[in-house]
Every structure is written in structure tokens, then in C-alpha cells.
Point group: C3
Chain length 345, copies 3
């Protein structure tokens, strides 16, 4: 693919001192430092602007034209997304196995599409349904009446429990567990009574689930992950929670049970949302933020308990001044006492 | 089962305008909104009281008689637990495989009870013991001389390492690891020396372990999880820790090494207990709480470092007022200076 | 092995009232309480000094000679490391399977050394390389062109994805995932664009990875774990991060993407390092610490946002005094008003 074709694919305009440069064929995307003459690179952080001087890349994806640059430019208002789209054109997963292995266990009542791939040591249980183009790696378990949507990839060691549904074009990374029991228990004087978890999990289309992430099944209602959501490794979603479309959750973040986020929720690392909290569209829970109550306003939140980010920053600055403040107040007290003593005399 | 029989099973009394209604047969528990005429529902949160007007359920489990309600009532002092008990009467896991699969690997020296179930691709190592009624799902590994107690269920991908013991009637969810090495290392000038972890893990009876949770083996002494404990998904218990009976740990919470909790400990989400900390019965570590030191008093703790919840709330409120306080002190200083200046003249 | 030989192996000097005692043979290390007459014990925490009076051990490892003790002593400046070394002499893993199982799947293009061990239900994919003495437990998946270094042990359910490299003498505990995709996405107006993760993961020699830990592959550059690093269970390392040699990360701690630590970094439980942060050698991130910015100084950090530990302690103390401070300021204000009123009259 030459640069012109690539630009057209990713919706970028081109800018080149020598238009002939745009005929050059490219086959990959790399960092400024590592890109070779048949790869393109990208500038998404002005910090790396200087490195472009030494770039060997065929072209650079930029947000706006850089005047003093001899390198051909692919100009796109969202250069990060354009770079992603370009990289996706060149890269796809390699799968070294095809067909349905006789070393897999496929229950006689399972419905596996002839164009699905089932690796050795995968277990497809009774009534499970694997749609066309789905790929099930070794050591995956697909539970009773679970469904794996077309073209979804389940990497090694993924478990999808009874009745759970994975949408179309999902990517589920190794060790993820979809539909383990939610954490529903009623403490009593004698012990702890288990609440059977009879809801399931439903993942929308175009969802990605990170390594060893857990999405627990609902107690009564289903746990749902909206269309286009992306979950990092080591994320936990509790029973009956609903994650809005196009949300992102970073590593070691979690939703407790019965949480309901709006669309485009972002949970940064170690952020947690308390049971039953409801959030509007467009909320971002900052790193290590503990969201204890429902919110009505979109925006970035920080702190534990979470407050709007501006407020948290003011508090954090104030806390950093606190030891000083203690001294100031002690001084003020002494000075006031002096004045009071003087006033009495 | 009719409502009368159900009430008797769960230890509830009945209250119905028309006693004939108590003959109705039911087969499940559902939310107020979703319960049909052959299901019961429950009221555990007064917030949902109004929804009962439109309920189609056969009956409702309540904490005390609601006078103005035509729906038959099952009255129990702990309606949440009564609902759990009722739901358990109707629900049980479905297992579509029986017997001991020739596709599993069972070491010739393992002792597998004839009434245990071993799915394909399970691996039972030398000297391991699987008791009657235990169910071992695909891709589980049961280590050398490990023991799985009667009627315990190990869902797919569970690992129980050498010499570890799972009690009776346990439920272990997918991907959990029982008895991986504890994190014991001695840094030296040359590198980091490993301390062999020669203790094991022992899970009591009626324990439940969530998906991808890890309970590490002890360095010298065993790591123990008391009778009736319930661990959520993504929980971590460090080497040599002892979790008291009937404790609960929520998702993404953890105990470091050599922690010793009392009975009925509760660890909320993201709470962590530091190495060697000892706690009395009845401690709750609130969400994101960091318990750095041993405690002698039961109750709820919050904050990092953790303090009793009331104290933490006072601190949190005070911190939220802190930016205002800084202004106040600046004003006071100015006013004081004015007074001092006036006093001098 | 007798005590003299043991002392020589671990580089300790001996101290015994009766030199004949040093001829005694020993075969293990245990706690003071549990050590029998053919085991040694150790004193690494002065808190346990008193227990030595009742010790039945053959000898005790100490940091310096204890004068009033009849027990033979093995004296080493780093008794904790000496104990670790001694314990390692007596303990090694038991593996009940040898050879390369016909129940494993080994791709015809994989290169498995004749002296590597491959358990049943392991899957070795195309072009993967397993070196001499490596041990691959059941339900492990070794991806396309991945490499497992000599003498490394992969316990059950470990996944190493395409092109990733495990060094020599590694220990990888159950359920760990090496090389799942990093969390790289570009949000757009229409949805979320995936950035293919074309970097790999490289683990140095002598690395240990805990149960269910995830080390994600890089977006462009490799994610690297330096020589001798030790990662606990439930640790997360994001895409493209570089962990310096001899670093340690405790349970439920994490590095976001593109973090670069120095050597001997320590991440305590629940500590997190933000994307792109760079740290010098010798930084310790305290428990629940959120390191949001790069640092230039070694040492212990605490808090969120993280600050040097001393500063954090001053702040934490100041916060605990804050409710009191609020009262003080209210009183000061009233007293000041009284003075002002008096001054006006």
C-alpha cells in the first residue's frame, strides 16, 4: 500500500514537499525512533517533536501541518486514532491452528458453526453455541447454553460460564472469566447464606476484555457490558452492573455490584465504584478514586470519597500546606493571646 | 412447593388476606419488577416499597407485616437471608458431565472417590485425593497430595497446588489459584534470595472462592481460610495469613502475609491489611482502607492509614473544608495584623 | 548436612558453647516454635527473642552473637537472607511427571529440547522454543515463536503469548499471563479504535512471576522485566513498561503503560505508577501510593498523589489534627471579633 492509498484509508490529507514521495509503499507503523523507510510514524505528543529531525520513516501522521519538516505528512484531526487505524491495516493476529480439533471436547448438543475454530483442549459444553469465524483457543471452557458471537476470539484459558453471551467481534484475552458467580451473600447469626446468582453476563459487540479480568454474573438481572467497551487486564465488574457503551476500564479498576454507568465511562487504574451507584454519560473516575455516591454531572472525579477533580486538586494542595497551616495557627493564637492580655491591662 | 411449605422451609410466618392464596405453588425468586405469578419476591430495601403495588409475584418476603398490602407476605426478621434461603431451594448448578473422563489425566497414585466427577482435561497429580461428590471441571490442576473435600465444586481452570486442602462443600470459581508460592524474598547486596514456601493452604468447610482469586501458600506456617468464609473475585490472600471463620472479602481486596483476622472480618473493595497485622473479631475494613497496624477494637475502619470510621468521616469533612479554612486563616492574620498595628499606635 | 557444613554453604560463622553440637545433622528450616531437633531456626525480628528460650532447634541463625544463649548460633550479617539460602538448600519443588506427554499438543514446527518436560494438556504453538530443563505444567499455552528459557518452570495454566520470551531459571506461578495485549485504544467520535500491540514481553533471567499476574505486551516497544525481578500474585504491568533489575512488586500493585523504573524498585501493595512515569534506582512506592509524576530522588514515597514519605507522614498527622484545628480557628475568630469590637469602642 502506498502513502496515498493509506491516507485515503485512514481519512487523512497528505502534505509533501515532493509529491512523488507519496508513491512510496509502506507496511507498518512504528515509533519515531524505530520506524524504517517502509514504515510510517506518528506525532501525538509535542514532546517528541524534536525527534522527527532524525526520523527515517516514510511519513509521519500529524494533527496539523508542520511547516519546517521535509518528511511527508499524513494530516488528520485525531492523529492518535489515525495512527491506530493505520496500524490495524497492517497488523492482524496470527493463528497457527485451523478447524475443529479432535483433541477438543465438544458436547454432542453444542452448536458449533463449521467455520468456527476450536483448538485442542477447549471444552464446549451442552447447548453452547459458537458462531461463524469465532476462534476458541486451548484451555477455554464455554459453558452450558453460552453463546460466542461471530468472529470473536477467545485466547487461551478463557472461561465463559452457563448461559453467558459474548457479542460479535469480541476479543477476550487469556484467563478472563465471564460469568463466575457474583458476590451475593446474606450474613446471619449462624453463618453466611449464599444467594444463587441466576442472572447471566452479556457482552455487547466489539468488546475487548483484558487478561485475567472477571465479569461476574448477576444475582437476578444480567450483568451487561455495552457495545464497544474496552476492559484492561485485572479489571473486576460485579454482579448486575451495567457498563455503558464505549466505556473503558483500566487495569486494577472495578465496579461493585448493581452499578450503572452512562456511556463513555472511564475508570482509571485502581478506581472503584461502590454498590448501586448510578452515573450519567461521560464520567471519568480518576486513578485510585472511590466513587461512593451517585453523580448527576459528567466530568473527571478524584479522591476517596470522590469529588469533582478541581475540588480534589484544591483539597490536595490544601493538605500539602496543612503542616504549615498548623504552625501559622499556633502563631496566631500566641499573638492573639498577647493582644488579649494587652487589652485587659 | 406451595407458599405454606416454603414459609416453613425458610422459617418465616405467613400473613395473607385470603388464606387460600398460601396454597399457590411457586418455583423461583425474582425482583419485584420481574417476578411472575409463580415466583416470590422480596423487600429488603424500603426504597422499593412503592414498586410492590404493581407486583405480579405470588408473595413477598418482608421483615415485618405491611398492613396495606394485598399480596401474601412471608415474614422473617432477616428478609435478605430468608430470600437467599428460598432462592437456594429453587436453584442449583447444572453439570452436563458425569463420571470420570478418560480424557482427564489421573495419576495412578491419586485417590479419586468413585462418586467424584472428573471432567476432561482435568489433571489429578500423584497422591491427590478427591472425595465423594466432588466435581472437578476442565483445565483444573490438583497438585501432589492435595485434597479436595466431599461435595466441593472446582469450576474450570482452578489450580490447587502441592499439599493444599480444600474443605467440604466448597465452591471455587474459575481461574482461582490455591497455594501458589507466597511472596517471600530476602534482598541482598547481590540480588534477591528466594525463601522456599513450605507451608500449604487449608480452606475450611463451606468456603467460597471467587474467580481468579489467589490464596498463597505459607512460608512456614499454613495459610488458613476459616469455616464459612466467602471471597469475591480478584481477592488476594498472602502467605501464612489466617482468615477467621465467616469472614468476607470483596473484589480487589487483599491480606498481605502473616495477617491474622478475627471471626466475621469484612474487607471491602480495595481494602488492604499490612503484613503481620492482627485484628479482633468483627472488624470491617472499609473500601480502599489501608490497615497498617493491629487493632484491638471491633467495628468499621476507613482511610489510609486506617482509623475508626467516625474519625475518618470527621477528617474527610474537615479536609473538604480545608481550602475555605486556608482563606479564613489568611483573613484572620490580616485582621490580627491590623489590630496589632492599632495597638502599637 | 551438619551445622558446620551448612554454615559454610550459607557463609555464616558459628558460635557454640559445645563445639561438638556443630556436628549435628539438620534437614530443614522452621520457625522458632515449630523447629525440631534436626532443623534450624532463625531470629530476624527481635520481637521473637524470648521464644528462643524454649526452642528445640539444632541451631539459630542470628545477625550477631547472642551471649546468653545455649543454642548453637549461625551468625550472618543478613540473617534473613542466610535463612533463605539455608532453606533453599533443603527444599526444592517436586514434579511427579517427566518427559514429553503424548497428551500434550506440540506443534510440528515447535523446538522442544529433549530435556524439557511437557505435561499433558500443555499446548506448544508453532515455532515456540522450549529450552533444556524447562518444565511446562498442564494447561499452559506457549504461543507462536515464544521462547521459554532453560530450567524455567511454568506452573499450571500459564499463558505466554506470541513472540514473548521467558528468561533462564524463571518461576511462573499458576494462571499468570505473559503478553496479553496492552491497553492501547484511541477514542474517536464514532467509537474506540484499537491500537495493535506489536511489541512483545521479555522476562530477564531469575525472574519470578506470581499467580494470576499479568504482564502485557507493548504497543510498539517491548515490555521488559529486568534480571532477578520478583512479582507477587495479582500484579499488573502495563504495555511497554520497563521494570529495572532486582525490583519487587507486591500483590495488587501495578505499573501503567510506558513506565520506566530504575533498579531495585519496590512497589508495595495497591501501589500504582501512572503512564509514562520515570523513576531513578532505589525508589519504593509505599502501600496504596499513587505515583503520578516522574521522580529524580530515590527513597520511600507515600500518598496519592505520592510525595516523599516524611512529607506524607507530616500531612497524615496534620490531617488527623484537622477537626481540632477547625475548632481552634472558630475560637480564634470569635476572640478576634471580641477584640475588634472592643477596639472600636
Amino acid at each position: 500500500m502506498n502513502l496515498k492509498e493509506l491516507a485515503s484509508h485512514i481519512g487523512a490529507t497528505t502534505h509533501a514537499a515532493n509529491p512523488g514521495d507519496l508513491e512510496r509503499n509502506v507496511h507498518g507503523v512504528q515509533t519515531i525512533e524505530n520506524a524504517g523507510p517502509e514504515e510510517i510514524t506518528f506525532l501525538t505528543n509535542p514532546r517528541f517533536r524534536k525527534q522527527l529531525a532524525g526520523a527515517k520513516a516514510a511519513a509521519v501522521v500529524v494533527g496539523q501541518i508542520l511547516d519546517d519538516l521535509s518528511l511527508p505528512q499524513l494530516v488528520h484531526p485525531n492523529p492518535y486514532a489515525a495512527m491506530a487505524k493505520a496500524s490495524s491495516l497492517f497488523q492482524s493476529y496470527r493463528h497457527a491452528f485451523q478447524g475443529q480439533s479432535p483433541l477438543a471436547f465438544i458436547h454432542p448438543d453444542a452448536k458449533v458453526h463449521p467455520q468456527a475454530t476450536i483448538y485442542p483442549f477447549a471444552y464446549i459444553d451442552q447447548g453452547a453455541q459458537i458462531e461463524a469465524g469465532a476462534i476458541i483457543y486451548p484451555n477455554c471452557y464455554i459453558g452450558i447454553e453460552a453463546r460466542i458471537g461471530a468472529r470473536s476470539i477467545l485466547f487461551p484459558g478463557v472461561t465463559v460460564m452457563t448461559g453467558c453471551q459474548v457479542g460479535l467481534d469480541n476479543i477476550v484475552h487469556p484467563g478472563a472469566v465471564i460469568g463466575g458467580d457474583g458476590f451475593g451473600f446474606a450474613p446471619t447469626a449462624e453463618g453466611i447464606e449464599k444467594i444463587p446468582q441466576i442472572g447471566a453476563v452479556r457482552l455487547g459487540d466489539d468488546v475487548e476484555i483484558g487478561s485475567n479480568t472477571t465479569v461476574d454474573r448477576g444475582a437476578f438481572d444480567d450483568t451487561t457490558i455495552g457495545k464497544g467497551c474496552k476492559l484492561d487486564s485485572h479489571v473486576h465488574v460485579g454482579h448486575g452492573s451495567q457498563l455503558g457503551d464505549y466505556s473503558m476500564m483500566c487495569g486494577l479498576s472495578g465496579l461493585a455490584g448493581s452499578v450503572k454507568t452512562g456511556k463513555r465511562f472511564v475508570g482509571a487504574g485502581f478506581s472503584g465504584i461502590a454498590p448501586g451507584v448510578e452515573l450519567p454519560d461521560g464520567v471519568t473516575a480518576g486513578a485510585m478514586c472511590g466513587m461512593l455516591t451517585s453523580q448527576t454531572e459528567p466530568g473527571l472525579y478524584h479522591g476517596m470519597p470522590a469529588v469533582p477533580a478541581n475540588e480534589w486538586r484544591r483539597q490536595a494542595i490544601a493538605v500539602s500546606k496543612l503542616p504549615e497551616l498548623l504552625k501559622t495557627v499556633r502563631t496566631l493564637t500566641a499573638r492573639l493571646e498577647a493582644l488579649e492580655a494587652a487589652a485587659k491591662t
